[in-house]
């Protein structure tokens, strides 16, 4: 429990996403109060200012603008979520500099990748891609975050291997890497100790227990009756699934075998692919929450006859009579109703598009870049496309020109002030 004055944030602390670097309390207070008052215009203005800075920047460190923009977004939207647009900004930022080797060992750029990986459904794939591209190979922070990811997945062996890789590459700062590695080792040994203790306590008493889905020896001569005592010797065999007998007591012979998953039999964990040179990042396989909503009503459950054949139900015949239509002078007044996009896809707000993941987009971007360099483009856009679309949100031509106008005005006002003060001091 925090002590001292302002602890209003405690009231909503479950909604505040933690940041690696911690949050500035003043920014947090401002963000929370702004949200309570529903005052979004200040936030929109600040965001527009960042977006225009991204487009107008002509210095030699564009990463700086992206970095500040992302930090501001994190501080201003404590809950994260869609409104912050953080995922899009991160993705644009990392994609923007994938061809710029000068940033590859910049700790800020590596930090962006780590945040991006954290947002992706398969962070480990992202880390492997980073390594393949040669980004951040000398940054301790990369190995630390990567190892943490393995640790979260319960793969301590790999977590340790990552640190070995880091030491091999001479990642800096070395002390930090060692310190975190030692911490990992401490956690791992604690875990091992706990496992060992559990095993010991298991062996002390082992009473006969029922085993699920085991085959039991049946009693009775004519009919197979399940025994009352189903432990120990009553178990005929422990199979990992039900099997159909020669003389089936229930069901048809054509019933397919129900195979019950036995975790002890299957091989331990998915095997890791070999670390070979990656041309493009792998596509993500996680499908949860990535499917866009689509039309549901045309999916039919096929009917089955009693022989197990699949039938399509014949469409209901049209009625032979003419449905009665009441005659009235006026057509029914249009009562306002909400058009349910699930029922009427004609005006669906978001059309279902092919499955897209951040990795797939990175892959496409890579391909496009290679194509543009090698082949001649077929279509040429006769306007400043990059400027319009380069930030995280889009601009129109007028907005771009407006930003240039405002910048010029600010410079002029600044110039006038200088002149005024110069003449005043004379």
């Amino acid at each position: 429990m925090a002590e001292g004055g302002d602890v209003d944030w405690e009231l909503s602390k479950e909604n505040i996403q933690p940041l690696r670097r911690g949050r500035a309390i003043s920014a947090l207070h401002q963000a929370l109060s702004q949200q309570q008052e529903g005052d979004s215009s200040a936030i929109n203005q600040q965001r527009q200012a960042f977006e225009s800075e991204l487009r107008m920047y002509d210095g030699d460190d564009p990463l700086n603008v992206w970095d500040r923009y992302i930090r501001w977004t994190e501080q201003t939207f404590p809950q994260g979520g869609k409104e912050s647009n953080l995922a899009t900004i991160l993705e644009r930022a990392v994609t923007r500099f994938t061809e710029e080797n000068t940033y590859f060992d910049d700790p800020r750029y590596v930090e962006l990748w780590i945040k991006f990986a954290g947002n992706c459904p398969e962070p480990l794939d992202i880390y492997r891609y980073i390594q393949a591209q040669g980004i951040g190979l000398k940054q301790a922070s990369l190995y630390i975050a990567w190892s943490e990811q393995y640790e979260n997945n319960g793969n301590y062996r790999k977590a340790d291997l990552v640190y070995q890789e880091g030491f091999k590459k001479g990642a800096e700062p070395h002390d930090k890497l060692q310190q975190f590695h030692k911490a990992l080792q401490a956690r791992v040994s604690r875990q091992v100790m706990m496992n060992v203790e559990e095993d010991d306590s298991d062996e002390e008493h082992k009473q006969p227990e029922r085993v699920s889905l085991a085959e039991l020896k049946s009693r009775g001569k004519k009919k197979a009756i399940a025994p009352i005592n189903r432990v120990g010797s009553a178990i005929r065999s422990v199979h990992s699934g039900m099997q159909s007998h020669a003389a089936p007591a229930l069901g048809n012979a054509s019933n397919s075998k129900l195979v019950v998953f036995d975790e002890n039999k299957s091989h331990a964990g998915p095997s890791e692919p070999k670390l070979e040179a990656w041309k493009a990042p792998p596509t993500s396989k996680a499908k949860e929450n990535k499917q866009k909503p689509g039309v549901w009503c045309d999916v039919k459950i096929p009917l089955k006859t009693k022989f197990g054949h699949t039938l399509m139900a014949p469409p209901p015949p049209k009625p032979a009579f003419q449905p009665f239509v009441e005659e009235s002078d006026q057509p029914p007044t249009m009562t306002p109703c909400k058009i349910n996009p699930a029922v009427n896809t004609v005006l669906s707000a978001r059309k279902p598009c092919r499955e897209e993941t951040p990795l797939k987009r990175l892959q496409d971007h890579h391909q496009q870049h290679n194509e543009a360099v090698s082949g001649k483009p077929q279509e040429q856009s006769m306007y400043c496309k990059e400027l319009l679309l380069s930030g995280a949100t889009e601009f129109c031509f007028e907005e771009l020109r407006a930003e240039r106008y405002f910048k010029k005005m600010r410079q002029e006002v600044g110039g006038q002030k200088d002149e005024a003060s110069a003449s005043a001091s004379n």
């Binding site: 929109n44 527009q48 306002p336 005006l347 707000a349 077929q378 006769m382 400027l387 889009e394 771009l400």
Partner: protein, 324 residues
């Protein structure tokens, strides 16, 4: 290469033109808003500038309320109305960010403004005062009135249809059928639908009636593209204007061409000569006898040398604008 049916307006603005709008009742009065901060009233018949008034920043759109009142807004985020008889200004209200669109709805007698602050505001022109603020999902880039319906085009390629008599909820939420940023939306005079253009040489014709049979009729086509040495050059389509009688429409692009389209037969009726620079805005007058063409570089390719800004007034014939 202007023929006798076309002439340039004198005393035009000193900087890019943002919008040209003809008076809804008088066939020869034209309002012009510009990045030089002025709004000018022209009598195109006698080719004279009748009046000019100033904003403190570039003006992005203007509209007639009635023949004697003009409304305008721009980067200073102030909505102004100007009495064209007394030459007097009034500041009606503000938005929180630059005002991008100003339109009038005669059926509901309300002025509508759209802004980059993601809101649409309604204004009662008689008092004049604010009659409501309505949040949109994104920055407003274009809007158009069809009867009592308001069609709003925002960033993120979204299109929203509102009922101006009942702004409590959105009537329809759509996504533009074009893949690129929406540039302009204009409603059909017959109020059946609207034409939508994008920054990548395409126009879509869409219908308001949500029933399936009507929605099947919607379509899109490529336009304002030039083939040069095997590469297709794609230009933004900046302006659309409908002929009030024939329901055909003109489009103007950054390629400097103006095309007239017949949306029912899906044909191009006519293409005029190439203008010196990008077409920023188009306006038919209310009886469809004249078309105002604002040829004005819009800085789509940054700050480069460009021809000067000109407004052409062209007398159009049925041959050019009537469906065959």
């Amino acid at each position: 290469m202007t023929g006798s049916n076309e002439y340039k307006l004198n005393q035009g603005p000193d900087d890019s033109i943002s919008a040209v709008k003809f008076s809804p009742s008088a066939t020869q009065f034209l309002l012009v808003s510009s990045w030089d901060g002025t709004v000018r009233l022209f009598d195109v018949g006698s080719n004279t500038m009748r009046m000019k008034y100033q904003h403190s920043a570039p003006v992005l759109d203007c509209a007639f309320y009635d023949p004697t009142h003009s409304w305008s807004g721009g980067l200073d985020a102030q909505l102004k109305t100007h009495d064209l008889n007394t030459d007097q200004d009034t500041i009606v209200g503000t938005h929180d960010a630059p005002i991008r669109c100003v339109e009038y709805c005669p059926e509901v007698n309300v002025m509508v403004t759209g802004s980059w602050d993601r809101s649409v505001r309604l204004w009662d022109p008689r008092t004049p005062c604010n009659a409501g603020t309505f949040t949109q999902p994104e920055k407003v880039y274009t809007l158009s009135v069809a009867g009592d319906r308001l069609i709003v085009g925002t960033a993120g390629r979204r299109v929203l249809v509102w009922d101006l008599r009942n702004m409590g909820y959105v009537l329809q939420r759509r996504e533009s059928s074009l893949k690129y940023q929406t540039r302009c939306i204009r409603a059909f005079p017959n109020k059946q639908g609207y034409a939508l253009s994008s920054i990548e040489g395409r126009v879509a014709v869409e219908y308001l009636d949500p029933s399936l049979e009507i929605q099947k009729k919607k379509y899109a086509f490529k336009c304002h593209r030039l083939k040069e040495e095997g590469i297709e050059q794609v230009y933004p389509v900046n302006a659309i204007s409908f002929h009030s009688i024939h329901n055909t429409f003109a489009t103007g692009g950054s390629d400097g061409f103006v095309n007239i389209w017949d949306p029912f037969n899906k044909k191009r009726l006519c293409q005029f000569h190439r203008y010196p620079t990008s077409i920023a805005s188009l306006a038919f007058n209310n009886d469809g006898t004249m078309l105002a063409i604002a040829a004005s570089y819009m800085h789509e390719r940054g700050d480069i040398n460009h021809p000067e800004n000109t407004i052409f007034i062209r007398q159009v014939t049925d041959a050019e604008t009537k469906p065959k």
